[in-house]
Subunit: 355 residues, 2 copies
């Protein structure tokens, strides 16, 4: 159950080479750091080739700085950049030569098998839905975030693609994330929980109550409503929620952990004994930031579109890019998209329900 | 701005004696602990008298154990108890002699000025709404949780009374919690933020977008959408959200902090140097549990009902009971309920909107 990045990296290839477009621009991390991650990835995965999307001049410069040489990377010039706070639809219209627009276009044209981006989440999702289209039978694609909670993986879905969900969306999120958890995180028969304010049946808002019924009548290994504490004690593998709630919870956890780290750091300055004490625990606390970590398993795939799209955190560094490339490669080689389409087809309600 | 429990305790009486009904049964803490808190409270606040609600035999026994003697406490026999997971409406119907039903009844009959309970939140809220009724003009009462975030107070509303909110509800929550923050936490002109997944206008779900407009056109000191990180950097004083989201966020924060404390404790066992290190930082870490603390300022009042009802955490100990009594006393003596009713009357939209 305790799948680590290393275990996943060691898994045998189950398919052919994977052509992965990687968005190098955007986000909160220097471009050269992202490039370093990309080169590390091609070094580690010999069956991967990368299409590096970003401003060609800067990418060439970074290549020289790093001193990397490989015939499995190619630069795709994307001179303009979509900012993190730009309105997605408008930005995509105004910047067809941005890394997000061109990266997704490469997928749409069959020139790449997957796209990885740490850029504006809304823009990536919008471009994917518009250019690739939804998978057959899927009402609303959802973003699945594989989080490392303390020591184990939990896949939260949706974390921001769809902020006004209907019950059918939550059912399909459960189905899609279960396939993802099983295929990519090696979790057999994943336990699916519905994030709620209480564990009893009939708890929660209208969406919860109706979604509960749908999930219960599905073929999923549905364990019922789960309160947040369940998550921290490894009580479920897939956590289904509305995209508004999922996004808030994700940001809340991240902010709380960051603030605690800041707070400990500041407190340490107050007294010498604190400094000494924290020094002794350094290796213990280096894990603290990873208690709710979103880079260990790569990035968050947008499930339910016709193509492999992985969205990573804006602060994704070289390690994160490497893991996201590994994840994209596994996604492609294990044909996860086809398994998801089959699972949607196999669930009578998920298939038939009107949007 | 940095209002502590001590400062609040020291504030001069602004009204007459306060008769406060305290629910001693229920929750996750031994009855004698709650009784000790109640006796500490009457000792500290000479203008307070308490009606202790719970099974008379056990309460008498606890009184003898503690050895307390005062003519300002009286036991109100409430032989039955509503469990934390019982269905509120059904439990209230079946157990009219429970501490929750009788405590609220004392308020309804004018025999008490306030009711404090650590019991089943849904049952307390339902009893209050049914027996006391909503304040004039209030569509849906909301639970306001005054949290200590790192070092400062933030009032989150609603944290669970109303899980399917309309925009008018969120507007009224902002108005009611602003009065509460100003009157009881001494925060002048509180900054009201709308919890959202982004700071830009037009972010979020339908509820967010419509609520934003209402809040912006109100007389509140509305600062716009706030993301979770804003909360941890003291960017707002009142955090408005839907009761479903508020409840999830509250439980998520609590679980995460508890889990981190557990995790540090377990990690410490691994190596002697960790034990030594944490030992040196003991006083620093004793604060960790209070980074998102819900007992420092007392409990969470149900705002918008005709009466003072304070709901405290199920794990409320003697210290928490004392603070909740202090809070109830201030609420009564400062006529916060009347100020809230006036604020609702003064806001044209809040008054006129149809439910």
């Amino acid at each position: 159950m305790n799948t680590t990045a290393e275990q996943m990296a060691a898994e045998p290839d189950s398919g052919g080479p994977a052509r992965i477009a990687v968005d190098i621009s955007g986000g909160d991390v220097p471009l050269v750091e992202r490039m370093a991650g990309a080169f590390e990835a091609v070094e580690m995965y010999r069956d991967v080739s990368l299409l590096l999307c970003g401003p060609a001049d800067k990418l060439s410069e970074a290549t020289q700085t790093i001193g990397a040489e490989t015939d499995r990377t190619r630069i795709v010039d994307c001179p303009s950049e979509i900012g993190m706070h730009e309105s997605p639809i408008q930005a995509l219209r105004q910047k067809p030569d941005s890394s997000i627009a061109k990266g997704v276009q490469l997928l749409a044209e069959g020139k790449a098998d997957a796209f990885v981006s740490a850029g504006n989440t809304g823009a990536v999702a919008a471009a994917a839905i518009l250019k690739l289209g939804r998978s057959e039978g899927v009402h609303r694609p959802g973003i699945a975030a594989p989080m490392k909670v303390i020591d184990f993986p939990v896949v939260a879905i949706d974390v921001g693609a769809n902020v006004d969900c209907k019950p059918i969306n939550l059912l399909q999120y459960g189905i899609m994330a279960s396939v993802f958890a099983e295929e990519l995180l090696n979790i057999p028969n994943p336990r699916v929980g519905l994030l709620n304010i209480g564990e009893e049946i009939n708890k929660g808002n209208e969406l919860s109550k109706q979604s509960f019924e749908l999930l219960e009548s599905s073929k999923l290994n549905f364990i019922g409503n789960v309160e947040p504490k369940v998550l921290f004690h490894h009580g479920c593998d897939v956590l289904v929620c509305d995209g508004f709630v999922g996004n808030i919870v994700l940001k809340f956890s991240e902010s709380l952990v960051l603030r605690l780290v800041e707070w400990i750091r500041a407190g340490v300055q107050d007294r010498f004994r604190y400094k000494l004490g924290i020094g002794l625990c350094k290796s213990l606390f280096s894990h603290l930031r990873h208690c709710a970590d979103f880079t260990e398993y790569g990035g968050a795939p947008l499930l339910g579109v016709n193509g492999v799209v992985i969205i990573t955190h804006g602060a994704t560094d070289a390690y994160g890019i490497r893991n996201a490339v590994r994840e994209a490669r596994s996604f492609v080689q294990n044909h996860v998209g086809e398994h998801i389409a089959k699972a949607i087809r196999d669930d009578a309600y998920a298939r038939s329900a009107a949007d």
